[in-house]
Amino acid sequence: MGDRIELDFPARPDYLALVRTVVTMIAAAGSKLPDTRIDDLRLAVTEACANAIDAERRLTTGHHGSVVLRCWVEPEQVVIEVHDGAGGFDPDHLVPHPPPQRPDRLQFERGLGIPLMRELSDGVEFRAEGGGTTVRLLLTSDPRR
């Protein structure tokens, strides 16, 4: 069995750089994922945590909630779960962006995070849990792309 790490951090943007650094260092040390997959992990984890922080920030007034990240590192794969307690959403009913060539694509500054996670990971799952959302990301050393 591989290593399991858990981080419980305040839902604040300034924690994001620290969290992705910790996760990528642990993954690089404990798995055989190539550097390009570690880069993919760095971005996918950031997107998942940013969504969780955003959700908590929308919910709480005056004080910040927290985000819980769990990470399972094995030689051939890394699994990350990011949990927020901020209600939840339906990832299957996101409005798709217009194609990039169309001028109205520029109306959309947000909403790239989940497509990025789907593109960078070998598997993404969203589940409603504990009054919030848990995102589970799987990255293997043998990427599909």
């Binding site: 992705r20 990039p100 001028p103 520029l106 990025l116 593109e119 960078l120």
Partner: protein
């Protein structure tokens, strides 16, 4: 964030990591350049170590404003890990992306 002037273009060199913590400062700086009447902008991403969807969103928003003002936004981006973020979101076809500041400030179509 260092800005300079090159052949009529305002060049903003970004560095470090751009995410939800730092993207608002990038947005402010670029919107300030637009508010000063700068309509031809080059954003140099070659010293950027990390760019997430929030950073991409800022660039999309600036591109929209620049076009509304009749100006132009060009990006300099050669680092594979940053180029990849544009490619997988297919935004590489929305932006004019160049290999160098020299290339970006030259007239003509993107390389």
């Amino acid at each position: 964030m260092a800005s300079s002037e090159r052949d009529g273009w305002a060049v903003l060199a970004l560095s470090g990591e751009i995410d939800i913590a730092t993207a608002p400062r990038v947005r402010e700086r670029l919107y300030a350049l637009l508010a000063e009447g700068r309509e031809r902008l080059v954003v140099d991403l070659d010293d950027v170590g990390f760019l997430d969807s929030t950073g991409l969103g800022v660039l999309v928003g600036v591109l929209k404003r620049v076009r509304t003002q009749g100006g132009e936004l060009r990006l300099v981006c050669t680092q594979p890990r940053i180029v990849k973020v544009f490619e997988i979101t297919r935004l590489d076809s929305a932006f004019a992306i160049f290999d160098s500041i020299d290339g970006a400030v030259r007239d003509g179509s993107p390389s």
